[in-house]
Homo-oligomer: 340 residues x 4
């Protein structure tokens, strides 16, 4: 059975497991207050050219989004997001559970523009409405599209003008930075965002998201919020050890680039076979359009997700490559497609 | 200065004040456990032909929506509503503050249809998404449109099929029942809705919304929720006294009918003067389209709300009539319009 | 049947009803943005010698406590309160519902001391615990005891030293200021508290609490919080009209003084009859100790609350006087007591 | 430097790491829907003789308590707990953050009795108070004491009589079952509790708590709650793999027994040296009383926590042993103590 369902189907990249094994019996304080976390945080600050940033390590993406946004906003403040944003669709209302409305904006490519943000901000004028305060973007988006450097800076300027915080969910930040057309690098996020995450779960770790707090006003009491949200890992050192290993020798970007390369190979093959893609994604997720019959046939030989039901006879599926995908698996998948 | 800003610009209808004055020194228990509330609740059960329904009296609309929906739903359950619904726009995120996502559906006339509800329900398929559980409608809608009996029953059947609760925000329920084309009556709401409100604030009371709990499963512990939400009035008898007076001798519907009549008079006049209305509302709210210049001129002589900015040069304004509006005020307003 | 159950058993003092009647048909904007509220707020600022304070009018006490504390605190911050505090006992967990832990301290007389506050603050040392941030006191306390000026200033200084906000629930503030031994006056609250309330519900209004925000940092966005909490009355002018009338010609203190006088008369009579009081209260609530048999006999002729079950055979009851209690009612009650 | 600070100072027991390494490249579905989790859940059902129980795997203890209690209770329902309970002291108000009051009862040994529970339940009589609904106990307690089988069954019966749910936080459940005087076993928890946890973090896993839902009414929608709370691990299989390994060949109880044995050795030595213990704990936590001077001297050679400040000159410290503590480390620590 082929497996193109997501980028978190395996455990961890071998170097991560090795690091965990090598440090296993070292005794440290708990809750992320250990030398491994300190060093990983320092490495991130250096990578991002953000010597003042505060770095926290959390376990999962929904947990990180929820803890961060819940800590940043006052009760009546709201989030602006594209309607395909992860917090809008696949986090079971975690942001609302913490009390905040998401103003979700229709966006065919999953991206926000300054004009969209400005219209949403302008539409909220009185105390009878929520007060937009934070712009949530994800890079790569949930549709595999990627913000360019220029787009990111434009959003940053827009947010500054309107006193909006800019938060980037970087669950697939590595994929964004190494995508075709992805010209951003770590320091751009530290320059543009008030806070952003560097995702490990979908890029080779067992688990782990690094949350970088750039804006000084967002730092106070953040560890209280982490603990209150159940988001402070007892053996926090596991996050430090993993991130240290992931950030060494460029492994982070190398893994992401590999995933993107495998997707490019797959995309090329699919187009050659005459399949259409619903979204012009340039990273590690592809969205082929299939007939229902084709999708069924495919599902006998490959695990994948249905992204959307187009009509009674057509679906859009999602194929995801990862650090662990091999060129051979891509070829096998193309082989299957050629028989559909 | 003319005043067509809303239907809660004055105090109460004189008969309400008289009832409060007449009972002022009677000593009763607090918190709605007094003979006045009992009798008002009994009157509502009779009017609705719902002898088993539980009736609670609350002070305001946002408070009632928030308390009811917060009590009805489990944490991960969500509300389906038209995007113009009051809970979506003008309650400062009160429902989200209580933890629940609102799935808001675009609707030009402010109404939901079974097809819309079904699409929204069908789009929520996994535990990574919220679980739609309650359909919120308002009658009249925030655009002054009105659900017919047939539409209400169709929504009821749709909700039953999908195990969705149906909740009607009746802040302007009287206006809905007496509108041109409004063929519903109290028992229809008790038949179709799991819970609904009978609004007093916008129909002649100082304040007060009656919440009718029809579905037996929604009743347990409701008074705990009221108290926790700060929604249990110490001198609860004030609500009982007012509703008793309002429901006597058909005053409730008479006041609403008067407001609708005044709006009809105004609408006829506006159309005769050549003005366009943005929404085909049939109750006590009208939405004329004006040039920005006209709106400015009007604002010197009449208080009203801007509903929407159409473009740089045009706005849609909102004019509201009430139980207190006089035919003379309507004539004066038309006179002003004729000069714009 | 005599009625000593609480101080909100009637409607309003006649002057309040008169003011409502006199202004009933004046048209104003909604939500507290009307001339009546403006003037009432100005009157409060003058009374309190706090020209910069922001004043908001809300409907009820639980609502006010919940809205204020919910707006003031960050998610992980906690309240320090005496264990008999209203928010600890009789608000159905409203503060916790908004996310905040109350650190409740045992206090036989219902009062907090600086030493108690300091111990509680000192016991919270790490991010694994909540962070105490606000001290809640009620004056009069729920046991009818009263903070003196000296005690209030001592708490103020303690809170300043520890960066704690001081909040006074003044549901019975009038009773506190006019009690035997009550030497505080309005400006003391503005000097000592970051925020405090002036209760109307229990001192002659139909309903209404004035919330005075003294600390400038507590003001931003407060009206958003009010709306979100369902605590913004549509016809907000009703609160302004009532408070204006209540604060005119010293009515507020006169009504409270009368209630206290009636309680003093009753206390004197009870002691003369040989009854014991469980608490040395000096305001409008008395807590006689009765045998269960006596309490039963009393309940046939007088409405009151059971405060506490002492043992199988004894209870502590609560008797409350109000602005509406007459000397004759006190005499009748003493007559009943003499037969127990 | 010796390390007796807690039982989560290392990574995982070697057999756990081996299992993770062996399964690392197996591809599975995410979110706990994989064969490893299935088998681990089946193993727990068998161990507990609870074939119908539903088992969920979560990452941490605070997260599990918060997710479970938040899912079980309606908004106005409250928890009864000993005042030393983990949810009362060291979870930064996580339960209150989810809206629920904890009624915390003073308990010198950290345990609840039926009499305590009954008094708390009886004190909550009206809708103005929260409604107690769930009894939280931890075994071992946070003071290292242990509930016996008899005590557990007595609490179970008490809860049944009062329609209270019984929830056991088993962060150190292994230590409780293997403690001196600990006569409970897995099936007792399934018989007595409506839900309970089997803690892995403090007994040899990298991380992981198994939540066993015994009461059928607690199961519906639980995975929605997990996701909403950020408590559903993307690579959920990591929890399944670890628990499978931990439950094999009695490893779980063996590790806990070892920790207890090391504590017994240490206790015997401390008593022989003339030190006093503040709590008669019988599991893997000891609470010696030291002078401040002794504690300082000790801290130069051993990591530990201060449990309590007794007075200016004395403290109670906490020493914790674990699966990884060696007899030699105990001897070295006793050697240090002999020099204090």
């Amino acid at each position: 059975m082929l497996y193109f369902r997501n980028d978190y189907s395996e455990g961890a990249h071998p170097r991560i497991l090795e690091a965990l094994t090598a440090t296993n019996l070292v005794k440290t304080a708990g809750y992320g207050q250990d030398p491994f976390c300190e060093k990983a945080a320092a490495a991130i600050r250096t990578l991002c050219a953000a010597p003042e940033a505060e770095v926290h390590f959390l376990v999962g993406g929904t947990q990180t989004n929820k803890t961060a946004i819940g800590a940043f906003l006052r009760p009546y403040e709201a989030v602006i997001a594209a309607d395909s944003g992860h917090i809008c669709t696949h986090e079971t209302g975690a942001i609302e559970h913490d009390g905040h409305k998401i103003i979700s904006l229709p966006s065919p490519d999953g991206k926000l523009t300054p004009a969209m943000v400005e219209r949403a901000a302008a539409a909220h004028t009185t105390e009878h409405m929520v007060a937009p305060r934070l712009v949530y973007l994800s890079n790569t988006t949930e549709l595999g599209t990627v913000y360019t450097k220029k787009e990111l800076y434009a959003l940053h300027q827009c947010c500054s003008r309107h006193s909006l915080l800019l938060y980037c969910d970087g669950a697939r930040l590595g994929a964004a930075m190494t995508a075709e057309g992805g010209d951003t690098s770590f320091p751009d996020y530290a320059s543009c965002c008030d806070a952003f995450t560097i995702g490990g779960t979908k890029n080779g770790l067992l688990f782990g998201e690094a949350l970088v707090l750039v804006h000084p006003g967002l730092r106070e009491g953040f560890r209280f919020s982490m603990k209150q949200q159940g988001a402070m890992l007892a053996k926090g050192r596991l996050l430090g050890v993993q991130f240290q290993a992931l950030l060494e020798d460029g492994l982070y970007l190398a893994l992401a680039r590999h995933a993107n390369d495998m997707a490019a190979l797959l995309r090329k093959g699919l187009l050659a076979l005459g399949f259409s893609l619903a979204v012009p994604s340039t990273s590690n997720m592809l969205f082929p359009l299939l007939s229902t019959r084709q999708a069924e046939a495919l599902s006998a030989q490959c695990a994948f997700e249905i992204q959307d039901t187009i009509d009674q006879d057509h679906v859009c599926i999602r194929l995801v490559t990862s650090w662990a995908t091999t060129p051979q698996e891509v070829q096998e998948l193309l082989q299957v497609f050629s028989t559909l």
